[in-house]
């Protein structure tokens, strides 16, 4: 079913009943009625409470069944143990949606989980969509629908705007409402999802994507139980050109522990979330400040930046340098202005620095038009994706103020899609004025640069462009995985990899000494000989591997030695023969792997062999499947890429072939889906440019019976 149609009656209800309606100011059954009345909600409001006649002047009903109307939304503010009974008093088909404020469900352990399951089952049977339980509810700002018991709006409403906000945590949600109000950030919706028995953050992202009044989505995620749904939602937002900024807690070991003890949701492996957000074009914010800075910046400039070149104008050369440091840290370039632009500035301020950062010096306070003229000169070059201005204490100069307003208005009119930040000490009302005219104000210039870098590096997720329907991919790779569980032997593993289009080393399996000699002779070079047994994962440890063998006699000896070593070490292992492959030398050892994340499915890893993986953990991840371009970005994320690029004089490796192989592996992993636990290709050799790659060893482990 289409989320949009279904959730429309929830998020834009024409009628609202409140279970547990109360006249007691501040109670969860009172706050929403007070807010709805005060805000001028135009739909019908039905207080429900058998112990009240009137609530906030409205006639009160004893039960839902006493209301003759159908009801778009029931707000539930009665204790957890009474929720189900109260709902059961409604008529089948009478209620379309419910939001449950009450806590005491899954978040408090087994008894609560049972209550939540009963509620969920009842709602599902009656086709009622559920928000919560244990949530703060939601606000449809434009329609004045305050289905929340958060007292935050009582201290001041925030303006309607185009940012849709969804947060799993209620405490954070209330804080976020206040922060948005303090920043004068207009919201379309504010939604808290709580225990997510039915509707989760992904549903809300999907809904906000389809909402015509929402241009930017801010999502605060604690855990995710349905990875595919989140992928679809992020992909939809991406395709619709609605940027998503997301904060996901539980990034580090300490954080994840805290997250796990806090919610019933799975905190998940953080590298997987990083990959997810990267691939689906969501911007990850690491602090609450950054979450808001980026969200607010996107609401002004939702389009992708034309370039990663930044222009800086400062009245202090030193602080200009500090801003340049920050730009460098965040991979923004500071190309110098063209000669004529520099000359024009120097003609007016001889001791300015006309380079980028442009240091207009304190003179800018004497010749007040210099800031606007220089800004226009810089932006007219078409060279810069954004402009950051630092005015120090001069921001509070009365003489400068009208010029500052003009500067922002004119630049915004001429370059509405170019982010412009002002860093200065300004009183709150002036900050608001400049922000309304089209710029953003940051007291700390480094924060301005950091925020700009986040939106300037933002690109649509590759996955938005991929046809990512499961069917298309699965057809392409019709994988024949032998039945059973546990590891496949090396020969079977390599064959599956080869059939998936991965260049594996030539090999044959011998089951007699004579066959081993024949095979080795055909390779006409020293060979590697390895035991073939699904029961033996660490072949070398038990003498199951011999390398660099040449000559009939040596092959025969090796054959026998391997068999007897293995027989001694693991007499019960099911041995299927000896794999023989030519020895390889040269190239760069890499590692590719796949593991199956319980929430997001197969995840592909890439790294260079040896210390890069073992000591430095220099690896990158992506969710399967992905294309060569994504694989390239994955390879370039590792520190070791300079080794592959041949920057140390040893000649470049075939990075394109590595990327093709990673993409092929990701397709294979996706087609295999949850039939496997992991795939390891270790090592896979990156040969010199143009010569491809060669997988020398591989093992596929099927899912164990659960």
């Amino acid at each position: 079913m289409n989320t949009c149609q279904t959730l429309n009656s929830l998020f834009s209800p024409k009628s609202i009943a409140i279970l547990g309606a109360s006249n007691a100011t501040g109670k969860s059954g009172a706050v929403p009625i007070a807010l709805l009345l005060d805000a001028g909600y135009t739909g019908k409001i039905y207080p429900v409470n058998p112990r009240q006649d009137r609530v906030y002047g409205l006639p009160c009903h004893a039960s839902l069944n006493d209301i003759s109307d159908t009801i778009d939304l029931v707000i539930i503010a009665v204790p957890a143990v009474h929720v189900l009974a109260a709902l059961e008093q409604s008529r089948p088909g009478q209620i379309r949606n419910a939001v449950t404020f009450t806590s005491g469900f899954a978040e408090v352990g087994d008894a609560g989980s049972q209550l939540q399951q009963q509620l969920h089952a009842f709602a599902r049977e009656r086709r009622i969509r559920l928000l919560g339980p244990n949530c703060l509810g939601f606000i449809n700002v434009r329609d004045h629908t305050y289905a929340t018991f958060s007292p935050a709006p009582l201290n001041g409403r925030l303006p309607a705007g185009d940012v849709g906000m969804v947060t799993q945590s209620g405490a954070f949600g209330a804080y976020a409402y206040c922060l948005a109000r303090e920043r004068n950030l207009g919201l379309s919706f504010w939604i808290s999802t709580g225990n997510e028995s039915d509707i989760d953050v992904a549903d809300c992202i999907q809904w906000l994507t389809e909402d015509p009044h929402t241009r930017v989505i801010m999502a605060y995620i604690e855990g995710c139980k349905d990875g595919d749904k989140l992928k679809r939602a992020l992909s939809a937002a991406n395709s619709a050109g609605k940027p998503v900024v997301v904060t996901k807690i539980g990034r580090t070991a300490s954080g994840a522990q805290a997250a796990a003890s806090h919610t019933a949701a799975l905190a998940g492996d953080d590298a997987v979330y990083d990959a997810l957000f990267k691939q689906y074009g969501a911007i990850r914010a690491y602090t609450i400040d950054e979450f808001f800075n980026v969200g607010q910046a996107l609401s002004k400039w939702p389009h992708h930046a034309a370039s990663q070149n930044l222009a800086i104008i400062s009245i202090s050369g030193g602080v200009g340098a500090l801003m340049a440091d920050e730009a460098d840290d965040h991979h923004l370039s500071l190309p110098a202005p063209p000669d004529d632009v520099q000359a024009r500035l120097l003609a007016r301020i001889p001791f300015a620095s006309a380079n980028n950062p442009v240091d207009v010096t304190g003179q800018a306070l004497t010749d007040l038009s210099i800031l606007l003229d220089t800004s226009r000169d810089l932006l007219a070059t078409g060279k810069y994706g954004a402009l950051a201005i630092f005015l120090a204490a001069a921001g509070s100069s009365e003489a400068l103020w009208p010029h500052l307003q003009e500067l922002v208005s004119v630049l915004h009119a001429e370059y509405p899609n170019t982010p412009i930040t002002i860093s200065a000490l300004l009183p709150p009302e002036r900050i608001t004025a400049l922000q309304e005219k089209g710029s953003m104000v940051f007291a700390d210039p480094s924060t301005a640069i950091r925020t700009l870098s986040r939106i300037m590096h933002h690109r649509p997720g590759k996955r938005a462009a991929l046809s990512c329907g499961k069917e298309a991919v699965a057809q392409k790779t019709n994988v024949n995985l032998p039945g059973g569980t546990g590891a496949l032997n090396e020969a079977d593993s390599l064959t599956i990899l080869k059939n998936a289009g991965i260049a594996v080393t030539p090999f044959s399996v011998a089951t007699t000494k004579a066959a081993a000699q024949d095979i080795a002779r055909q390779f006409s070079c020293p060979v590697a000989m390895k035991i073939v047994s699904a029961d033996i994962l660490h072949k070398s440890d038990i003498g199951g591997v011999k390398l660099g063998i040449s000559g009939d006699d040596a092959v025969a000896d090796a054959y026998l030695e391997i068999l007897s070593s293995v027989q001694r070490a693991q007499p019960l292992a099911d041995v299927e023969g000896i794999l023989i492959a030519p020895m390889h030398s040269g190239g760069i050892e890499c590692i590719m792997g796949v593991y199956c994340d319980p929430v997001f499915g197969p995840v592909v890893m890439f790294g260079l062999g040896g210390i890069f993986v073992e000591v430095l953990k220099d690896v990158s991840f992506r969710l399967a499947p992905f294309d060569q371009a994504e694989a390239l970005s994955m390879i370039h994320e590792t520190q070791a890429v300079s080794l592959l690029k041949g920057e140390r004089g040893q000649g470049a490796a075939d990075i394109a072939a590595l990327a093709d192989t990673l993409a092929a592996l990701s397709q294979l992993a996706y087609a295999l889906g949850d039939r496997i636990e992991s795939i390891d290709i270790n090592p896979i050799i990156a040969l010199p440019q143009g010569q491809g790659v060669r997988a020398l060893d591989g093992v596929i482990i099927r899912k164990s019976a659960s």
Copy 2:
């Protein structure tokens, strides 16, 4: 001369003359007089201007000579070209100090540099100390001495306090004054040094160290011309237990370029500044926000934290996790509270998370004493070095407010040295109230954690403990460096390293085939043979090296082949023989190096060989000389240290011997001082624990004639 005595008359003047005194509001000759009068400066004020009778009601003098008194401080606010003439009208001995506001000196090129030199020479002759030129002057907040033309104090004075601030940049200085005022951060002194013709940031740090009213020093540095002076100043502050927080611009390539174009000062190599600040115990801040956050935190808690354990209390589990993420990023630990503490909390709030982060849930707003009780319980364990509390929007709850004030007051009274931060949305007057009661308030909880981490990791610099007088060290290593310039040959280089206490491989130099055979026979193992010539730095490239040679014939062949290869490739090279050393195998290849920084002298580098240095640039630096403890911290800074520690199963290397060697190298480098350009020991082998190290190759390059 003692900086303190000399600068006392500058920074606490009893009499001030103003050259260029003016009645025109806002002019640089008017602002200081207006500020001094308004602030109630108690010394004498002498306006000087031949075209005025009275200035701000005070009698005006035609020239300095017209003033019969001696003058502690002359403020110079006349155009650059008139400065010297105006000063020359004073009587010898009449003036003790001058601060020059005027720009148009070294910062504007050659003509200005000449003016500055003339001014400097005159002042030196008359024994006048100079602040500036091209500076904003200074403020002695306690004594109401406003020797500045910055209009910032006109819009509101900041309170007297114990933070001394010195900034090289005037624009930044004015901004910093306003920021301090906005944060209600009390200053003892505010000083801007400008072109630093005489007094520089280091002098001011030294002065602030000796000032009894200053407890914390905030320094903003653009460049440094006298490294030794800065070292001495930082060392003095360190010894006096006065923490220094420093922002140094020009951290990255872009920043350094901007810095160079802005000041006449040398931006310096940033790795050297990092080493300097680390060794001398200064805290480096990377943004203006951090500069102030750390400065303000230090002014509350100047003592070093008792532990790097942090306690977190949050009313939102999710944000608690976010804070835990940040703590993890900054290497703070979050140990769980003892069982009894957990039990007490859970008895009151069954669904709390009593782990660390402690999630008191929204219940904390119902049971209002829970925050204080839990905080006291946590701190009473003695386990935690700091406490961070997150209250979300609840901070603005009227019911909570008295409890919040009590919380901060009680905790501050009981644990005055334990940093406590509150993160909440609060109006400015409440932020001020809580900060005055002893905590710090950060709207963004991640910023709270980051700031805490900076002060909790702060340790006194090692150099404060070292006897770092040049003489002591130089005596210890009386180094016999052969005269001349350029490279020493390998044999001479290794000999110097060996005499300095570094374990070099045994070697001998043969000048005949027979001698070569003798030497090789004595080593009774395969040998390495290398050409000895100061003219040949890259020996392998021209066939000057043969490895793994054994047997008389092979040695003889190798001897002749090396000589003829070298003769062909570099016929003019001065060949001094063939160095013969036993072959080594095993151990881990490391690299040690020294280069001579023009400002800070010899800098020592450490890294692991191969890709660690070449691909990953995984190296660390320290200023010479340093001890074994500092060398250990240097080794542990590299990513590759886990390889040395044997964490990958290959057995630990002799890290202690590596550290001894680095310390010895640093002593040698310090003793050699600017007689050398560089030293390279590459490779030096770290043998297994207890077996020491072995330097296999080394080259010392003497300073070229300049």
